[in-house]
């Protein structure tokens, strides 16, 4: 059995709002093998980005981990001091690529300078920036930027969105991280450029054997990228399965409904809709969070919280229908 790179046990995260704590993540249990791409999908407000930030400890001061633990390579990272976490893990073992590459690069520094910074700190300030320049150009070339020598001296606004995201990927992979958290890295990009970036990402993963937690709302993207998928709804993980298994045999009513909502070029039947709204964080219904919108809900759903349980090999679902 391959080692687990990341293990999350019973995690719950709360945000402080007007003196009260609102629970935005509840009962999160998740494992990630090394070299695996796990997609975290859900609608806006489901807590998927919060989970990504929790793992990298990037939550704002108003948030706290209320319960549970996160183990990274067997080490409990929740109790690490901020300094240790920064020195050992963040940017070294774990990296992140965010949604909007425009905001992630500093507009007043040349792209090359920003890559040199990462290399400089990676070398523990031992090598001079001059020595590292060749390495930096090599990296630009590797992520498919044409004319890297020239591009090295340009500013972020001279790069297109797709090129900026390539630079972000390059910077994330410099330290050869074991875990990359990608928070909707292609949402702002065009179709053909999106395909290019995801192709690059797949190849980098193959080369570096990095695990990826890929956060997305687009099921059409993750189907071609991920090994496994975890579906989130209202702060909980409702279903985890192998990618193909999830699409062919969805178990949870939410997953099933979501797939029927998705316009697909091969689909001819009427699109379904899910009645109602995603509940606000902190205002979740009693019982299963999905029951007010679920067409199968029965008495028990209104009273108890379903837990994520194994229903087949490598397929977990949190629904009482499976107990019936």
């Amino acid at each position: 059995m391959p080692d687990k790179i990341l293990k999350i046990n019973n995690l719950a995260v709360e945000y402080r709002n007007k003196g009260k704590y609102l629970r935005v993540l509840q009962d999160i249990n998740l494992e990630l093998d090394s070299g695996e791409i796990l997609a975290l999908v859900g609608e806006s407000g489901s807590g998927k980005s919060t989970l990504g930030k929790t793992i990298l400890r990037l939550l704002p001061d108003s948030a706290r981990i209320a319960e549970g633990s996160i183990f990274f390579k067997g080490k409990d990272i929740c109790n690490l001091s901020e300094k240790d976490f920064n020195d050992q893990i963040r940017g070294q073992e774990m990296a992140m690529v965010i949604q909007n590459p425009q905001n992630a690069l500093n507009p007043v520094f040349k792209v090359g300078t920003q890559i040199l910074d990462v290399l400089y700190f990676k070398s523990k300030k031992q090598k001079s920036r001059k020595e590292l320049k060749k390495e930096a150009v090599e990296i630009l070339k590797k992520v498919g930027i044409s004319d890297p020598e020239y591009r090295f001296g340009e500013y972020p606004h001279q790069f297109s969105g797709g090129m900026k995201q390539r630079v972000m990927l390059a910077m994330a992979f410099i330290s050869n991280p074991s875990l990359l958290i990608a928070d909707e890295p292609t949402t702002a990009l065009d179709l053909t450029v999106e395909a290019q970036i995801l192709n690059l990402l797949s190849n980098l993963v193959d080369e570096y054997k990095t695990s990826i937690l890929y956060i997305s709302h687009d099921l059409g993207v993750v189907v071609g990228l991920s090994d496994r998928i975890a579906v989130m709804y209202a702060g909980r993980i409702v279903e985890v399965a192998q990618t193909r298994e999830l699409f062919d045999h969805p178990n949870h009513p939410y997953t099933e409904a979501l797939l029927k909502c998705l316009p697909d070029y091969k689909k001819t039947e009427e699109l379904q809709t899910i009645p109602g709204q995603v509940p606000d964080p902190g205002n979740y219904p009693v019982g299963c969070n999905f029951h007010p919108r679920c067409s199968y809900s029965f008495e028990r759903c209104r009273q108890e919280d379903p837990r994520l349980e194994k229903i087949a090999s490598e397929h977990f679902s949190a629904c009482f229908l499976n107990d019936r």
Binding site: E43, S44, S160, G162, M163, D190, L191, T192, V193, E194, A195, Q196, L198, N199, L201, S202, N203, D206, H217, L219, G220, V223, G224, L225, R244, F247, A257, L258, L259, C261, L262, P263, D264, Y265, K266, K267, E270, L271, Q272, T273, I274, Q277, V278
Partner: protein, 326 residues
């Protein structure tokens, strides 16, 4: 007679302000946002315009309603040229032709409540008989888009993205138009809300015999909603035909490339073995000579670099601009 006919539409944005430009004496910068685009939309049809960002699809949408003045070309609505409309005629035209804007939130006035937003077109076009009936009409419109009466008293910031979108649709329907320009009406919406909006638009089309010009970059959605598709690249239409043909028998290499990035959830595929198209869309300020797609095209030959291909019929009702087919 087609409901809407666009003939050789051109829209160039020219920038010659700025002291530095004048000092450098480089001459004005010309962006050919839309360059010689022609198409027809028949009544009750949905023409989808697809393409990557910067290809000019939103500029086409705005020109068709004369929200921006075209540089050249003619737009016919019910056989009459809207370019020469005077103020009154234009106002009458705007009663018939409405638009759903791309950003659901910023297209609603933050100081108006929903009732005021939805009834504003009625005020502008003098269609109010008395105030009591007005509220009924607003409720009726909100009901049409699936919002209950209580929403009429809310401000836009109190609405979710999907609700704000529905208010935008209700406002567009207020004057009972025949023609609606929809500029990416589902972008930024969650899957479940997106499907609700798509179903709503389809239902409204059948009920009120609406005609749509549908701007989108989501090909799955285009398949679902439209019966004609125009593919744009750098300000030009490269292929235009009915939806079934474009999904099954497209001929232009750009269409082929665009649709090759299309995969369904039921297909077995992954990004690693995925055939991808190299490069990015060039800048419209300085487009390549000849066919503007040739630097990215795997079939390109000598002629493509020099001669610009014309949009020609490859079979009945199927036009493409590519030298491979001439």
């Amino acid at each position: 007679m087609a409901l809407v006919e666009v003939k050789n539409l051109k829209k160039y944005f020219v920038n010659n302000d700025g002291l530095l430009y004048k000092l450098a004496n480089k001459g004005p910068i010309k962006v050919k946002a839309v360059d010689d685009v022609s198409f027809k939309i028949e009544k009750e049809d949905t023409l989808a315009v697809v393409g990557e960002s910067g290809c000019g699809k939103t500029t086409v949408a705005r020109s068709v309603l004369r929200l921006i003045e075209p540089t050249a070309g003619e737009i016919l609505y019910k056989g009459r040229s809207i370019n020469n409309f005077n103020k009154q005629e234009l106002k009458a035209f705007r009663e018939d032709a409405q638009m759903i804007l791309q950003d659901p939130r910023s297209s609603l006035n933050p100081r108006f409540i929903v009732e005021e937003i939805v009834s504003e077109p009625l005020y502008i076009h003098d269609q109010i008989k008395d105030d009591l009936n007005l509220l009924d009409r607003v409720w009726e419109l909100l009901d049409l888009v699936g919002l209950s009466k209580r929403y009429s008293e809310l401000f836009p910031h109190e609405l979710s993205g999907g609700q704000a979108r529905r208010v935008g649709i209700a406002r567009a329907l207020a004057l009972q138009p025949e023609f609606i320009v929809c500029d990416e009406p589902t972008s930024g919406l969650d899957i479940s809300i997106m499907s609700a909006v798509l179903n709503l638009m389809k239902k409204l089309q059948q009920e009120y015999q609406l005609t749509y010009l549908w701007i989108s970059h989501n090909l799955h959605e285009v398949r679902y909603i439209s019966n004609k598709v125009a593919v744009m690249y750098l300000g030009k239409i490269v292929e235009i035909t009915d939806t079934d043909t474009i999904f099954n028998n497209s001929v232009h290499p750009y269409t082929e490339a665009l649709f090759s990035s299309l995969r369904g959830i039921n297909d077995n595929w992954n990004y690693q073995e995925h055939e991808i198209i190299e490069g990015e869309v060039p800048s419209p300020i300085n487009p390549p000579a000849g066919c503007s797609f040739h630097p990215r095209c795997k079939y390109s030959f000598d002629k493509c670099k020099k001669v610009e291909p014309e949009l020609k019929e490859v079979e009945i009702g199927h036009l493409a601009a590519c030298h491979l087919y001439n």
